[in-house]
Amino acid sequence: MTQGQKATSTILETPVPGGLWVAFTATLKRDVTLMFRRRGELLNPLVFFALVITLFPIGISPDRAVLALIAPGLLWVAALLAALLSLDSLFRTDYDDGSLEQMLLAPQPLAALSLAKVLAHWLLTGLPLALVAPLLGVTLALPLGSYAVLALSLLLGSASLSLIGAIGAALTVGIARGGVLLSLIILPLYIPVLIFGVGAVQAAVIGEGVAAHLAMLGALLAASLLLAPWAIAASLRISING
């Protein structure tokens, strides 16, 4: 082999082993930093959640018995809509400034990078919603003893909501006003999570076992963790292609 051939043979790069973890953590860190720098948007879902919940006792009745009956459903529906509100921006800015294109061209699996983005989204929307929910439960006279279950069910449920919602966000990212379409695609898929989430809290309120409901929420989360990243990656490819 001559000198010249040797020089050209070394220029080709191979994918760096272990690079996936580096790319995953960097993407997570990048998205968390970006979201923290837009604090107004970050607070939006929380403010929406708090407003809706505080308006209900005024609008319906301050009667504790009435409120306690509807509290689990109200809290869950409001949290679900708050999570839905924040989804549209998940891939939007990346699409607009071209970094989504670059993510698709990275020598890392797109599914893993999307998972990092969804994780960042959940840490800054789903997690705060789950933590604030017990506090708002007080204003709805949620019976004592169901607060922990409420937080836990939202913790598990909101993670599924973020994962499933991201599929819709990825599908509609190429459309200028995809917000309505996103809701139409995603809401039917949210219903199982809503049913078992509310079920868990209601079971806690009437003093029944909550394990079955929470196990179902866990199973939904496991299934979406397994399948959603691939669906998100495929949807992003479709959106970029169009």
């Binding site: 020089a7 220029i11 080709l12 993407t27 800015t93």
Partner: protein, 206 residues
């Protein structure tokens, strides 16, 4: 094994109109290829297609003799694509932007590497300013810093000279030439006359 990207009988249709048909193209180590054509003639589409982003085309693409679809990961590890939008986050500083791009290619890198890359594109002193506060040309330079930072043999650049001042253009031309001379290859679209050696091969579209 040297670098070789080959397109055979490439054709792409948009809205019932053929942008290009029967396009044959081979890019080897040391080549600078310039795609020319009026606005709307499909330059960006061709670049995206060669960068493996689009799948609705006819014809075949080969990377070092193997079909591109099969060696996609290896191909992407060798490709640096700078698109029409620079892919730079306005809410992050130039340093943070570059850190993410380094991580995307799987390297942790370090700050001094990134600082010297920024220095080289004339952004020394701006490393901690949010990109949103920089001018259009400076934002483009942040993207161009990736050329120095990430070692990739094949560069696919879509209008890299947009918003760059005269000194910047000369520096970038010198960088393209140096890259080609060291065995890399460059595929570029631009509306200005490229002054590089080895001289750029032209492909006319439209």
């Amino acid at each position: 094994m040297s670098l070789c990207l080959q397109a055979r009988q490439l054709a792409c249709e948009r809205d019932g109109r053929w942008l290009f048909e029967g396009l044959d193209l081979t890019i080897r180590s040391g080549d600078i290829v310039r795609i020319e054509g009026p606005n709307g003639s499909g330059k960006t589409t061709l670049l995206k297609l060669l960068a493996g982003q689009l799948s609705d085309y006819q014809g075949e693409l080969f990377w070092n003799g193997a079909p591109l679809r099969k060696v996609r990961e290896h191909y992407l590890a060798n490709l640096l694509y700078l698109g029409h939008s620079p892919g730079i986050k306005a809410g992050l500083s130039p340093l943070e932007n570059l850190a993410w791009y380094q991580a995307l290619s799987g390297e942790r890198g370090n700050t001094s590497q990134r600082l010297s890359a920024l220095e080289q594109v004339g952004l020394g002193g701006f490393e901690d300013v949010l990109v949103g506060q920089l001018s259009a040309g400076q934002q483009r330079r942040v993207a161009l810093a990736r050329l120095t930072l990430t070692r990739r043999p094949l560069w696919v650049l879509d209008e890299p000279f947009t918003a760059i001042d005269r000194q910047g253009v000369a520096a970038l031309e010198a960088q393209l030439a140096a890259h080609a001379q060291s065995g890399g290859s460059v595929l570029v679209t631009t509306h200005h006359a490229l002054d590089v050696s080895p001289a750029a091969r032209c492909i006319q579209l439209g």
